[in-house]
Amino acid sequence: MTDGPTNFIETPFVRRKRRAESLAKWVFLAMSFAMVVPLLLILGFLVARAWPALSLDFLLDPPVRGMRAGGIWPALLGTIYLVVISLAVAAPIGILAAVYLNEYARDNWFNRLINLAVINLAGVPSIVHALFGLGAFVLAAGIGKSILAASLTLAVMTLPVIIASTREALASVPRSFREACWNVGATRWQTIRAVVLPNSISGILTGVILQVSRAAGETAPIMFTGALFFKAVDRGDLFAYGLLEQCMALSMHLYVIATQVPGVPEAVPYATAVVLLGAVLLVNATAIAVRVYMRSRKKW
């Protein structure tokens, strides 16, 4: 707008205005990049420090010598168990809850209350979720500290992630699609199954992927509900944990070797952090890729 050719006489007022404009633009640009650039530097630094320790053996070996050497296999495996089980619990409940909120709920006080509950569930501090998991699943339900109790805690915590993105996906399906289906005599559920869910699958998938990334990174909720400092597991053993046993987890392992174990060689915690970070960012990048791809071939 202000960059075009000017064919009027520039008054000091206009010049000042123009200068303020370009100054503002650069300041805001700098502010945006002030968050991004140091972060990239830090990530680069982490990878550089981690580099000597990173190898396939690091992923597949169990830790040895009091977690001062070896790899991270038991922690990696534990995180996979926790994520898969929490996903199996949270995905159906979350998707159906979103279906209820978008397809069945009328705009009344009760459903506003549900909305408020979803928002608050997302805002509850992770350590309070840990207390809840300890009180409800470990003690009251009598499951004990275990993979199951930790996964259920993670599932409750990550439910809002799935509800929010599934809901957004359902809401983006045009009303006319539903009306067309109703008009050929389908019931509400038949319409949802045949028209609404297939047309919003990419958004639902994004929500599910984001849940995975969130669950994989959390530490506090699993600390007192099922995560363990150390457990001996054979190299590459896929079935090391039972559902009612405690397990190691990647996030917990990073916390432990960074703060609780003295004398860990420097590269090991860096490498653990890089593996955790890499896994989470990879999962998120997948969600973004799914979204971009699906948006590019959206039919309406």
Binding site: L96, L101, Y104, V124, L159, T187
Partner: protein
């Protein structure tokens, strides 16, 4: 451009329930059943929120009946000696002040940068850069809190010790910077939504009067979007208060009312995370930690409620 009226939610339309003549009975019954399951999942969020409050409060409640325990001391005393043999004291004021100090510093950094970035993304940059920045911000939000804590403990600690000469690099400053980076994404995304919600006619009117984009931002958009921006800040505060692992690792772990940003502190969340493992189940110490959980739940509940009311107020307008 004409405003398209918002579409009513599908639920507001009277449900067409045709009775298909040839449908088998099991299909009809099955569908009923399924719809009840969907309703149950729908209210699950309420059940979980109530459940969280109930289970955390139930574990904390016995301490409130204890004659030795005083709620005033719990809230307003700075003496936190939970494991002392002779003089057990459960005062959380120092922890609350620690939480507030770190949160305040984080917001002092995150609010200007977050708003600046939101303004840049929404008003000043082209579509390609906008997409890229939004993706980067989304990835920033995905970094696990334990990794942030580790960054604080390894990178920031050294940087702070070298630049300020502080004896310990894990302190309010460290935690504040880490928390700022963690809460910037939510501030950016909610603020950007708020700016996007300002009708284009406002912008067009401003441009027609010869305003530059900067004048448009500070004379038209900021006043018009101020409640949405307030909600963004509130949600950022909520995020910062509730954060656990990052502050546990980056703030230095000393129960202390800070007098400068280079003092180590400990927050409410970090105290629970650090001490719950050692407190014997059912002891007073254990119950007090659950009571801190109730306190945190209440604080974040109020903040989220406020943010929601603010956002709802905008939508109604």
């Amino acid at each position: 451009m004409t405003e398209i009226p918002p579409m009513p939610a599908a639920g507001n339309v009277a449900a067409p329930v045709p009775r298909a003549p040839g449908r088998p009975r099991w299909a009809v019954v099955g569908e009923r059943l399924l719809e009840w399951i969907i309703r149950l999942c729908g209210i699950s969020a309420i059940l979980f929120v109530l459940g969280i409050f109930y289970f955390v409060f139930a574990k904390a409640a016995p301490i409130l009946l204890d004659k030795e325990f005083s709620l005033t001391e719990f809230l307003f005393s700075t003496k936190w000696y939970p494991t002392s043999e002779i003089n057990v004291r459960y005062g959380t004021l120092a922890l609350t002040v620690g939480t507030l100090a770190v949160t305040l510093l984080a917001m002092l950094i995150a609010v200007p940068f977050g708003l600046g970035a939101a303004i840049f993304v929404s008003e000043f940059c082209g579509p390609r850069l906008k997409e890229t920045l939004k993706i980067v911000i989304e990835l920033l939000a995905a970094i696990p809190s334990v990794v942030w804590g580790f960054i604080g403990l390894s990178v920031m600690k050294t940087v702070i010790e070298k630049t300020t000469g502080a004896p310990v690099g894990v302190n309010v400053l460290n935690g504040g910077i880490i928390l700022a980076l963690m809460s910037v994404p939510i501030i950016v995304s909610i603020s950007e939504d708020a700016l996007k919600a300002v009708p284009d006619s406002y912008r067009e009117a401003g441009i027609a009067l010869g305003a530059t984009r900067w004048q448009l931002v500070y004379k038209v958009l900021l006043p018009a979007a101020k409640t949405g921006l307030l909600a963004a800040v509130l949600l950022g505060v909520g995020r910062a208060i509730g954060e656990t692992m990052a502050v546990l690792m980056a703030t230095g772990h000393a129960v202390n009312v800070p007098t400068s940003v280079l003092d180590p502190v400990r927050t409410l969340t970090a105290t629970i995370a650090a001490e719950l493992g050692e407190a014997p189940e059912g002891s007073n110490h254990y119950r007090v930690l659950f009571l801190i959980g109730v306190l945190l739940f209440t604080i974040t509940f109020v903040i989220n409620l406020a943010a929601d009311l603010v956002i709802r107020g905008i939508r109604r307008k």
